[in-house]
């Protein structure tokens, strides 16, 4: 079923950023999280944004998703300016954002429901994607009844159902245990192989970036700027043995040096693709 989809999507999903700066926060707390970023991503490319915590890579992702507005510069998807969030730019967070009150299948089918598709059709489509991510049989569970890895698989299925041109992922496996993370990385590569969607994957894990990406874009600490853009020479499909190869380790050493060039600086707090956490203006007690 995915062959024609793959062919279609290989033509779409071109991302172009030109001198993008993003400011986060308001008033005296505002700061420049991303500065003067130029980046071109080809259709179907798997790009990892690598950088230390708080460097603005998630902020950049939030702007791509349409949840943040750049203070300057332009972001284009297939030549069109990004204007607010849309299913064509699917966003996956570090912790799942499934609706706790909806069953797994209703969560996956959520996007189709928003577009007014009848229940039977959207459930059929959702069931097919759940099979694809290995969760056939879990349709009627609630998210809280699943493990962290399964929750992220549901999340990925839900985003894929919108047939996104770009998949935006913000450290999606960062909260999982090591073994589950490896499985999820493999699953993501399988899914990407079938759908051919452009992927922008934010991580601070060098091994993860090296295993997954076609291309690694390294960002500096705040304000985030691109300091390196590496195209990986590794063939696909990849498996775990890649991480013991000489090329892998040479690149890993290089990236480690890039990330640690100012190891003495205090670590910055993690940023969110949604910008600064909005303080609630009012507090009451009953």
């Amino acid at each position: 079923m995915n062959a024609p989809l793959h062919a279609l999507q290989a033509q779409t999903g071109r991302v172009a950023l030109s001198s993008v700066s993003i400011r986060v926060g308001s008033g005296a707390d505002a700061f420049t999280a991303v500065q003067e970023v130029d980046l071109d991503i080809a259709p179907g490319e798997f790009v990892c944004l690598l950088g230390p915590s708080g460097c603005g890579k998630s902020t950049l992702l939030g702007a791509l998703a349409g949840h943040l507005q750049p203070a300057q510069g332009r972001i284009l998807l297939d030549g069109a300016a990004i204007n607010g969030p849309s299913p064509e730019r699917g966003l996956v967070f570090q912790h799942h954002t499934l609706l706790p009150w909806r069953s797994v299948i209703d969560n996956v089918a959520f996007g189709l429901k928003m577009r007014g598709q009848p229940r039977a059709a959207r459930h059929a489509a959702a069931r097919a994607l759940l099979e694809l991510v290995g969760l056939g049989g879990f349709e009627t569970r609630y998210p809280a009844q699943l493990s962290g890895g399964m929750q992220q698989r549901v999340e990925i299925a839900r985003v894929l159902l919108g047939q996104p041109r770009v998949l935006l992922m913000d450290e999606p496996f960062g909260a999982l245990d090591a073994l589950t993370r490896l499985k999820m990385q493999q699953l993501l590569l399988d899914v990407w192989d079938r759908f051919g969607t452009t992927v922008v994957f934010v991580t601070h894990d060098i091994d993860e970036a090296l295993f997954l990406a076609d291309r690694i874009v390294v960002m500096s600490p705040r304000p985030g700027r691109i300091i390196e853009d590496i195209r990986l020479p590794f063939a696909r499909p990849r498996d775990a043995s890649l991480s013991t190869s000489a090329d892998f380790n040479t690149l890993k050493r290089h990236l480690l040096a890039l990330l640690h060039h100012d190891a003495d600086a205090a670590p910055l707090p993690r940023l969110s693709p949604l910008g600064a956490v909005r303080p609630h203006e009012l507090q009451f007690a009953i």
């Binding site: 998703a65 349409g66 949840h67 607010g84 969030p85 849309s86 299913p87 730019r89 699917g90 966003l91 967070f93 912790h95 954002t97 609706l99 706790p100 009150w101 909806r102 959520f110 996007g111 928003m114 577009r115 609630y142 809280a144 009844q145 839900r158 985003v159 919108g162 969110s272 693709p273 949604l274 956490v277 909005r278 609630h280 203006e281 009012l282 009451f284 009953i286």
Partner: protein, 261 residues
Amino acid sequence: MTDRRFTPSAWLLPAASLLVSVLLWQALAASRLHLGVVTFANVPSPVEVLRAGWDLLQSPKLLFHLGHSLVRVFAGFAAAALLGIGLGLLVGRARWARSTLLPPLEVLRPIPAVAWIPLSVLVFPSSEVSMIFITFIGALFPILLATIHGVDSVDERLIASARSLGARRWQLFGEVIVPGAAPAIITGLAIGMGTCWFCLVTAEMISGQFGIGYYTWESYTLQNYANIVVGMLLIGLLGMGSSALIRFAGRRAMPWQRGGA
């Protein structure tokens, strides 16, 4: 957890505690203890209360008073729930509503519902409506504030994700914000139900002609002291029962919370 409920220690101790309390009450009432500051000379004993309760149970007066009280509570509570949840959702989500509706509500909020009684008697020619109004005022603020709090506490990321998946403004409301705020709203409703009974009983004592609060006060003026305690116990029972009913309905409406973390 389900097993523990049936072990003897889980119900034996509470039951024994209740029994001792009743026995203590019986002893104090029977001895007509007079301690200066407090006197038990006029306090009916549990046995007298039980007898009075039995008598009331068989007389048509019970249903009559209960019916009046229940209708008032239901009317006041329903109005408060409608307005409280509606306003709460609006104030919680819309900036303009927060800055226009909240200030007057914040001024009214600290006024106890009971303080509204004289004014409401003046404003509403029907004493029935004025009592319902007091009940309404009592429940409104707990429900309103819980709803605002519930809307505020909905995870921003859930909203962002739903928007990324294509949810529009109203879809966002029905699919994310209302269910996300629902646990807080249910808590607000349960608290509001408690204050409803509190306010109703007070209003009935002051301006009522029927109803369980009126019955309790009337028993005092007619010196049927045992009936006072019967009325008190009935009020407690009704308040407890209706709050439990709301929590039960809440659990039924939110099955995801049962298996949840």
